[in-house]
Every structure is written in structure tokens, then in C-alpha cells.
């Protein structure tokens, strides 16, 4: 990564048309917390012919991976060509998506759930993300835990699928081909995190024509085909375009950080942080690490909480103590 600079720090190029385009591009990167890899010719000692953009002489400030601000000539910056073209069984190139959930910030506002239902055209009571009341031991304090799909690197659901309908893409996402799925639900029982939901009948959904139009499998969201399995997809319509998933954006408390492990960067929309530093500083962990599923979703423990714990349910529910 030495030869790459990350453009998630504002840069000050002069106003040429191309530069402003690039700035928008970079700002996009900033807003999503996804660093845009730029080949800096100065550090690489290579200069792709005809690929240079911007007027010579203007300086651009960029942040290097170790956090230093460096200034480079704008015409030495080369965009790494990135395709967001859809190839169903391949992921977004040069990405390894990762999520960090800060349990100290969650107060069960459920905005993530609602955003998820809305974005995926799910009925209000269904969503791919759930928020559970957890309590580790009898005398420890309860806390709220949002659970999306963990997009495991050793996914038990993918392992058991008889027809290759669910698969892992290069960007780390566990995806589903709903035109392939035979509805055996083996993946649902194989997933120890109950992340998957099933389209038991179309009457659960009741989509209007406009919504049906908007749904593009693998580009926006699951086509909700009856008798097939669906689950959290990390919102491909956003992540393919360097934007944050809807649950991340919807959370009023910045619980969710989303980003790219290759760029070592995550953002919750307000702040952009180094992933490795965040995981280290806040003693991050993964849920049920013992199972060896290698989730791509990390949790930050519920310490120094922003909110007191309030359970809105009057009727206490039956629970499992983890």
C-alpha cells in the first residue's frame, strides 16, 4: 500500500473542470469513507502515458496511509480505473467491505431497521437487520445489538448450498442468486446468526409496479422471488458507487461504521477512521468467534455508553443469555 495514497482528505486543487470532477469523486470517497486509490506517480516512479489529468502546476493535498498530509502535483495523479459494472458473481474490484458496530452508541432507535425495510422494499415488520436486547450474564447490564448479515469469510451458509445459489464475491459479500435458489432453506439453518429470511409467500410483500421496476437484482436489492432466501446485501446500489449502506446513513447515533478493509478505512458518515486502529483501540470482537466463521462485521463493546438502557417492551420477553 506504500504506493497508494488515499484521497479521503480534502484536497485543494485549482478550479479546472477536470479537477473539480476529481474533487467530487474524492468527496464521494470522503462521504462514504471509502478511500479512492490513486496511483501517485511520484511515489511509484511510473507515469502512465496519457493518463494524467488536471493542469500541470496545481498542487493537491492528500493523506498517506500513515496519516501524513502530503502535497503532490495534480498531473501526477492517476485514477486507478475502477469498474462498477455489474458482474453477478464477482464483487466490486479492489474492495473488501467491512462493518464495525459500536454497541456503546446504540439505543435501539431502530432507524437502521426502517431504512433497511424501505431500501429493500420489505414490509415494515421485516428487515435484513435486527436489533436484539442482549445480556451477557445475569448481573451484567443489558445492551442493544444490531445484527445484519456478517458476510463471513468462512460462511457456513455458502458451504451447504446445494446449487451454488449463495456465494462469496471478491469484495467480501455473501450474495444470493434468487433465480438459482431452490428454497431448501439449508443455508438458513446453517447460519448460526439467523441472518437469513425466506420469502414464504408474495403476499408478505405486496410490491407496487413502481417498486417492482426499481428492483434490480444484484444492483439494488433482492427481487423478492417467492420461495427463495434473502438477506442483508450491504446495499449494492450504494456500495458499488462508494456510498454508505442505508442502515449506516440512517443511524442517528453513528453506531455503524462501514468501509473497506483494503483501504483500512471505515466511516459512519460523520467521522472517518482507520479500521485497524479502531479495532485495536476499542477492543473490537466478532460475535461467536469460536465458531470460526470469520465474520466481516466487528463489534465494539458496550462500554462508556452514550445512552442509558431503556427497554420499550413492557412485557419482558423470553431471552437467551449469551
Amino acid at each position: 500500500m506504500d504506493n497508494e495514497l488515499n484521497g479521503h482528505e480534502a484536497h485543494e486543487s485549482q478550479d479546472t473542470h477536470e479537477a473539480s470532477n476529481r474533487r467530487n469523486f474524492l468527496r464521494l470517497g470522503l462521504s462514504s469513507g471509502l478511500g479512492i486509490g490513486l496511483g501517485a506517480a511520484a511515489t511509484m516512479g511510473l507515469m502512465a502515458e496519457g493518463d494524467s489529468k488536471g493542469s500541470a502546476g496545481s498542487k493537491v493535498k492528500l493523506m498517506s496511509p500513515d496519516g501524513k498530509i502530503v502535497e503532490v502535483d495534480s498531473d501526477q495523479i492517476v485514477d486507478i480505473p475502477r469498474s462498477v459494472e455489474l458482474v453477478v458473481r464477482e464483487g466490486v474490484p479492489n474492495r473488501k467491505f467491512v462493518m464495525v458496530i459500536d454497541l456503546s452508541r446504540c439505543k435501539n432507535a431502530r432507524k437502521c431497521k426502517n431504512a433497511c425495510s424501505k431500501m429493500h422494499y420489505l414490509p415494515p415488520e421485516r428487515s435484513y437487520i435486527k436489533v436484539e436486547k442482549m445480556q451477557d450474564a445475569e448481573k451484567t447490564a443489558p445492551y442493544w445489538m444490531p445484527t445484519p448479515c456478517f458476510h463471513c469469510d468462512n460462511p457456513p451458509c455458502v458451504k451447504v448450498c446445494p446449487v451454488d445459489a449463495t456465494f462469496k464475491t471478491s469484495d467480501g459479500i455473501v450474495s444470493i442468486d434468487n433465480t438459482r435458489c431452490i428454497g431448501c432453506r439449508f443455508c438458513m439453518v446453517a447460519c448460526p446468526y439467523s441472518a437469513r429470511i425466506f420469502n414464504w409467500g408474495t403476499e408478505l410483500y405486496a410490491l407496487n409496479d413502481e417498486q417492482k421496476e426499481a428492483i434490480k437484482p444484484h444492483e439494488s436489492c433482492s427481487p423478492h422471488l417467492r420461495g427463495t432466501v434473502e438477506k442483508c446485501d450491504f446495499c449494492p446500489n450504494h456500495t458499488r458507487h462508494d456510498k454508505l449502506p442505508d442502515c449506516v446513513k440512517a443511524c442517528p447515533n453513528g453506531v455503524f461504521y462501514f468501509g473497506d478493509e483494503l483501504d483500512d478505512t471505515v466511516s459512519n458518515g460523520d467521522e472517518t477512521l482507520r479500521l485497524s486502529k479502531l479495532l485495536k483501540d476499542k477492543s473490537a470482537y466478532r460475535y461467536l468467534e469460536d465458531l470460526g466463521t470469520k465474520p466481516r462485521v466487528y463489534y465494539l463493546p458496550p462500554v462508556n455508553r452514550l445512552f442509558p438502557f431503556v427497554d420499550p417492551n413492557e412485557h419482558p420477553e423470553k431471552e437467551h443469555h449469551e
Binding site: E125, K130, V131, E132, K133, M134, T147, P156, K159, V160, C161, P162, V163, D164, A165, R180, C181, I182, G183, C184, R185, F186, M188, V189, A190, P192, Y193, S194, R196, I197, F198, N199, W200, G201, T202, E203, L204, R226, G227, T228, V229, Y287, L288, L291, N313, E317, K318, E319, H320, H321, E322
Partner: protein
């Protein structure tokens, strides 16, 4: 078998002819028609329910995101289990040369074939997209235990059909020559099915060799079908399923219910077709001993399964166990364990308990218990996920099968009984040529003493 004299079915003496005509299939009587009628009602009900499921989706069931497998799966496991008996009687008893097995082989094979065929059918009923069944062959991944199951079950079905069909050849040839007894159509079909069986020495030699090879082949297959079926559960992380005990636990349970299935069929057939001369009390006594042995083995694996996890009481696993022992599943759990396993052991250890009627009643307990045992294996586990079930519609937190699920399940059970009934209606349920051969060479009655 090979030491026996060559049997010429074209020249039967009076005694043999009488035996042959006694064993040939007969038309349904009143009771038979009534029985078929009842089965048809259940099958029709199942079809109506399946039509509903096809048009509305699996939403007509009570399965939901948590309890995503229900009685279709437990029924599937039940069918696979009971089909194991084919290998027990037709193969294991054959290879160890148990002489009294002859009248039981075809009964066992008929049950095995119909049960394994319906196991395959009922699993399609459970699929969300049965229209994509062909995907299994087009896109099958060998890494998935479901594909292993597809492979072993289709192979088992094939070999079971062969084990049923090959020993039928001499009988088919024999029946195709009894024009006084069967309609022209039947004679023609029997003739076609007999595939030019002439009854030469060579043909008998080939037949004996083939059935022997098949009998050897079917034993590892039988172990595989139920071991692999148990792996559908044991390869997951779920509490109550995540167990290395599951393979032998399932296999032993399957042999037990299969044995009970044969006993029940033996009893009904003996009463219905007056086969007292051929299916003797001795057969019941022996099968009863078998059943008690298999029940004891099953008890052993049950103790393993519940005591070891119960001793540790690991978090969610402990809750799951408490739910079985003392929670909402407790009544069913104890009924199944006591009436389906402990009671049979108690009854069948005694000679009197192995008399036909008490043995039949016990076997029925074992069969019904075995069905619910599989319900108890599938359902409670899924209601105990690692991440707690919260904020769900009340209905989603439990699993109570809907009438459609019960109807389809009952329909499938009736369907498999129907297949058995029709096979008995059109084919001799006891192997005529083997019975004649045995009576001719060494009567069963004289062998029975040393066999016990």
C-alpha cells in the same frame, strides 16, 4: 441358497401348486376396498393442500424465518428411517443366512421401496421452488450434504427396486402362465415383466449371484442414507444438532423403526391373507428379539445424546434440553421416549410380549413414537437460535403445523401405504419360488428350531 436343489417351476406337484396358488395375489375384498378408499381420501386431502401450497407458497405452512424446517423435514427423516429395513431383512439376514427370513424379505423390500420413494417426494414438497428441482442436477455442488443425500438416496432407491424386482422374476414367469387366475391384461404384463425368465439353471445362478451382490452393496448404502440424512443436521452449528453422535444415533433409530414396520406389516398381512402357515409365531418371536436388541442400541445412543449434553448444560443447549425435559415439548418428549422406546424394551424382553398381537401393538407404538421423535429432533432446535428471537410477530416464535402441513404429511404416509397395498395386490407378497424351494428342500418348520 446355492446348495439347494434346482427348482423347476414348470413342473410343480400338487402340493407345490397348492402353495403357489395360495400365495398368488388376490383381488381386494370388502375390507381391502374400504382400506383403499380411506387411503384415497387422505391422498386427495394431501393433494388439495399441496395445490394450495403451490398457489400461495410455503406461507400456508406455519414455518417461518426461525422455524424454517418443520414436519415435512421430520416426515422425510421418518421415511428414510423406515426404508432402512429393506437392507436389514433382505441383506443382513440373507448374508448371515438366517433361514427364517424367506417369507419376510419381500415384505421388507416393498416397505423399503415405497418409503424411500416417498422420502424423495416429500423433500420436493418442502422446497420453496419445486419448479427448480432440476437445478440440483444442473448446478449441484458436491460440497453440500444435500447433494450427498440426493446421490445416496437415488442409489438406494435403485438398488432397492432391483432387490425387489429380481427375485420377483421367477414368480412373474409363474404367474404369467396361470391364465385361469388372471386377466389377459395381467398375464401380458406379468409376461413382459418376467423378462423372458425360463428358469434354467444358469438363470438361477445369475439371479442368486446378483441378489447376493446387491445385498452386499445395499448395506453400506443403507448406512449412508441415514448417516447423510443425520448430517443435514449435524453439519450445522445448531444446538441439539451439533453432535458427532448423530450418525449412529439416526441409523440405530432407523433400524428400530424399520424393524417395527416389518412386524406391523407381517401381522396385518398374516391376518388379512391368512398366512399363518407361512408367517409363524416363531417369526414374530424372532423379529421381536430383533426389535428389542435394536431398541436397546437406540436407548444407548439416546443416553449418549442427552446425558452428555445434559451433564454440561451449556447455555442455549441447556435451555434447549430443559425445554425438552420439562418445558413445552416435555409431554411429547416423555411420551415418545417411554412409549416409543422404553416400553417396547420392557414388553419384548418377555416371551409373552413377543406373541403376535402384543408385538404388533408394541411395534405400532414404536412407529408412531419414531415419527414424533423426528419432530422433536427438528423443531425445538430451530426455536433455540444463538441470537435470541425478539420483536417478532407472536406466531413466528412458535411452530404449530397448519392443516395443510398435516394433510400433506398424512397424504404422503397414505401414499406410501397405497404403494405397498398396490404392490401386494398385484404381486405375491411372499416369494413363491423361494417358499416352494424351501418347502421342497427343507421345510421351514424343521429349520425353525435350530434357527432360534
Amino acid at each position: 441358497m446355492n446348495k439347494k436343489e434346482f427348482l423347476n417351476l414348470d413342473q410343480l406337484d400338487d402340493k407345490q401348486e397348492r402353495l403357489a396358488s395360495e400365495l398368488m395375489p388376490t383381488k381386494f375384498g370388502m375390507v381391502g376396498k374400504l382400506w383403499v378408499g380411506i387411503l384415497l381420501v387422505f391422498i386427495a386431502l394431501g393433494l388439495v393442500a399441496y395445490y394450495q401450497q403451490m398457489s400461495r407458497g410455503l406461507i400456508v405452512t406455519d414455518m417461518r424465518d426461525f422455524s424454517s424446517w418443520g414436519i415435512y423435514i421430520s416426515n422425510f427423516v421418518f421415511f428414510v428411517a423406515i426404508s432402512l429395513v429393506g437392507s436389514l431383512v433382505a441383506a443382513i439376514l440373507k448374508l448371515v443366512d438366517v433361514p427364517w427370513r424367506t417369507p419376510l424379505t419381500r415384505i421388507a423390500e416393498v416397505i423399503a421401496v415405497s418409503a424411500i420413494a416417498f422420502a424423495g417426494l416429500i423433500i420436493i414438497v418442502d422446497m420453496g421452488r419445486p419448479d427448480r428441482f432440476w437445478h440440483i442436477f444442473a448446478y449441484g455442488r458436491i460440497q453440500s450434504p444435500i447433494i450427498w443425500d440426493v446421490i445416496v438416496i437415488t442409489t438406494y432407491l435403485t438398488i432397492s427396486v432391483l432387490l425387489l424386482f429380481l427375485p420377483l422374476l421367477p414368480d412373474l414367469a409363474l404367474m404369467s402362465k396361470r391364465s385361469a387366475r388372471f386377466s389377459k391384461m395381467q398375464l401380458k404384463i406379468y409376461g413382459l415383466l418376467s423378462m423372458g425368465w425360463k428358469g434354467t439353471k444358469e438363470q438361477y445362478a445369475i439371479l442368486n449371484r446378483s441378489t447376493k451382490i446387491l445385498a452386499v452393496l445395499i448395506i453400506p448404502l443403507a448406512l449412508s442414507i441415514h448417516t447423510v440424512t443425520s448430517w443435514l443436521f449435524a453439519t450445522t452449528f445448531r444446538v441439539g444438532w451439533d453432535s458427532t453422535n448423530f450418525g449412529p444415533y439416526f441409523v440405530s433409530g432407523a433400524f428400530m423403526v424399520g424393524c417395527a414396520g416389518v412386524i406391523a406389516a407381517m401381522y396385518v398381512l398374516r391376518e388379512r391373507y391368512h398366512l399363518h402357515e407361512h408367517i409363524k409365531d416363531m417369526h414374530f418371536d424372532n423379529m421381536g428379539k430383533f426389535l428389542v436388541l435394536l431398541s436397546l442400541i437406540y436407548l444407548y445412543f439416546n443416553v449418549n445424546e442427552y446425558l452428555v449434553t445434559g451433564y454440561k448444560m451449556k447455555n442455549v443447549e441447556g435451555e434447549h434440553l430443559m425445554e425438552l425435559f420439562a418445558g413445552s415439548f416435555a409431554p411429547m418428549f416423555w411420551l415418545v421416549q417411554i412409549f416409543g422406546m422404553i416400553l417396547p424394551i420392557g414388553v419384548l424382553l418377555f416371551r409373552k410380549g413377543r406373541k403376535p398381537l402384543p408385538l404388533f401393538v408394541t411395534a405400532m407404538f414404536v412407529i408412531v413414537g419414531a415419527w414424533f421423535k423426528r419432530y422433536l429432533i427438528v423443531t425445538p432446535t430451530l426455536l433455540h437460535p444463538f441470537i435470541p428471537m425478539q420483536n417478532l410477530p407472536e406466531q413466528w416464535m412458535h411452530y404449530t403445523p397448519t392443516w395443510q402441513e398435516w394433510s400433506i404429511t398424512a397424504g404422503s404416509l397414505a401414499g406410501s401405504l397405497m404403494v405397498i397395498t398396490l404392490l401386494i395386490r398385484y404381486f405375491p407378497i411372499l416369494p413363491i419360488w423361494e417358499m416352494i424351494e424351501e418347502q421342497h428342500v427343507a421345510p421351514v418348520s424343521s429349520l425353525s428350531e435350530e434357527a432360534v
